[in-house]
Amino acid sequence: MTLPNLNHYDSIQLTPEGQLKHFLTIEGLHEALLNEILDTAESFVDMSAQQVKKVPLLRGKTVANLFFEASTRTLSTFELAAKRLSADVLNLNISTSSTSKGETLKDTLMTLRAMHCDMFVVRHSASGAAHFIAEHVTPDVAVINAGDGRHAHPTQAMLDMLTIRQHKGDFSKLKVAIVGDILHSRVARSQIHALRILGAEEIRVIAPQTLLPRHIEAMGVKVFNEMSRGLRDVDVVIMLRLQKERMQTALLPSESEFYKLFGLTEAKLAYAKPDAIIMHPGPINRGVEIESSVADGPRSVILQQVTNGIAVRMAVMSMAMSGQLKQHQLRSEAAGA
């Protein structure tokens, strides 16, 4: 008897020619494709600095931002990215509408399908939601994962990679530490995949055991439980947001204890390399995971991450749409022949 197949991520998000048609996860993608995303994004970064910020790559296309989970910054950067690509944008905050009326995700999807959108940007609290949606949309609709549960936040990871590349260039000599709530973090998981694929020398996670998922080392990271050892000689420090709800369970005793042990202060930063950069996906909790002076200091690249976020989202949206169009053409040709 044959067992169910292992990884098929490729077939879901790539065309047979290896082009992006959805962007659901970084896992399983090739280094060349990640570099293509970064290169494309870099060209949009330059463009954003100019007077005329629009390109017509998605003209006539409709992008629906389906946010089943509240978000301000991710939603606004996706909106801005779509508009700079000349798309029409529809923002749907679904967490407060249909699902509270008992509509299933499948039904919501069928309704949206009938509106003939060309791209869905999806954020959902359930891991795998973007995969589910990609499997159930009509063939020509591209799905971009804007964060699903604890699983993946691939555009965030790619904007982080762009930021790292702008500062450090080559990934192969980099030691990167990710600090904080790894357990609940889709950002950390996507960063780990991206750093591995881009060839980072060493990826570390630093957290107490309660904030580390079991077998995290199987993702190719080194686990540290203390900052002094974990930050030693790192080139990049990525701090994760600590959600205050975590204090209400047995995960952590208090914010102050967490800050004392794992908060990034000037003192702890001294363990890292002198030219180490500090990153954070935002929004930051000053005095919980990071000291204000570090967040605002010269080594912090947090605001640059935001700027890069728009460029990376433009890149991914335009690439996925072009993959869909190419596939559509091939299908039409096949049907015509």
């Binding site: 169910p4 292992l6 098929h8 991520y9 959902h124 891991s127 795998g128 079991r214 993702m219």
Partner: protein, 425 residues
Amino acid sequence: MNIKITGGRIIDPATGLDEITDLYIRDGEIFAIGEPSHALHYDEVIDVTGKVVAPGFIDLCAHLREPGETHKGSIASETAAAAAGGITTLVTPPTTRPIVDTPAVAELIQDRAADAGFSRVMPMGALTQGLQGEQLAPLHALTGSGCIAFTNARLPVKNTLSLLRCLEYAATFDLLVVFQAQDDSLTHTGCMHEGANATRMGLSGIPEAAETIEVSRCLLLVEQTGVRAHFGQLSCERSVQLVHAAQQRGLQVTADVAAHQLILSDEQVNEFDSSLHLHPPLRSALDRAGLIQGILSGAVTAICSDHQPQDLISKQAPFAETAPGLSGLETLLPLCLSLVERKLIELPHLIEKLTVAPANILGLESGTLQEGKPADICIFDPNAEWVVSDESIRSAGKNTPLKGKLLKGRVTTTLLGGRIVYRSS
């Protein structure tokens, strides 16, 4: 009606019989094997050359969804599926709506099963009223209404004193208590085994301890009360070890595992395929090896289907939001036969785990082909290949991770009390 079944390999683990010979049925009972003492007229002669004739399978856990969730399956649809899977007796948990905590519900289930006529259905009664874990259900009355055993399903009796009282009361009447061990707080929102794959996919994990802690707690109380106890659908190697140690100390405990747990592991749970969202979850490959080892050592007494049919919509959502379970009645035999194919177990030993072993756990005299016993018989072709599809399975639940897979081994005929209740086309 008299039937002669000729040319098959007859395997009856209860008697150690394994030979190619004939079997005769008279008036619903096994009349003879080999040569009958006197000649009979046969209404039908079934030539089963190349096939295996075994006692009908006894499945220790199959959800039928009736009453209460008939959009997922009915007693008629699921017992028909059982017949197609060679299962002639099945035990069904009390988690219907209403719950089996009154004689009326127990009787309703058996009446509907008798009307359908495909297989014998034996309800398990609720151990506590409403499965709430507080007040004892009327165990004695429920036994009188045909409940074969008692369980609180996967809703543990949290209050240990209440659980102790339940077991003492059950022991009073020598009733069988079935544990589907699962610690509530450790299971929490988990939807798959807490392993590397759960971490990678960002799914909440269910640690082994969710099962082993509850197994340990129950074993200690079984030891104190002396109640007859059975552990259903163990998923962890460590649980098997705990049960094995208890058996070696002389406790009256038995255990079963679901067939799919012997074949699949959490490594197959990829890409959020909701057909692999199971409860208990598929564990690690090491656990799977431990379960197989438990079968071989005898610590694991029986193999069941843990059939949990779901309708389409219940499986169409992001992984964690889907309903757990797989439709397992019709894949029970081929999954088990793959262990024989891989030379992990001998065919007669396997059939024992599906027939006389579960019969002994339940205190039934069936599960054997001895003369005078009801002719509950499963005839299967161990080499027949078939593809699992919505069309090829009869259960209303099409939720199987094996869809599209080529399986080997298929039931050709099932007899219940000498009546043909399934015949492959």
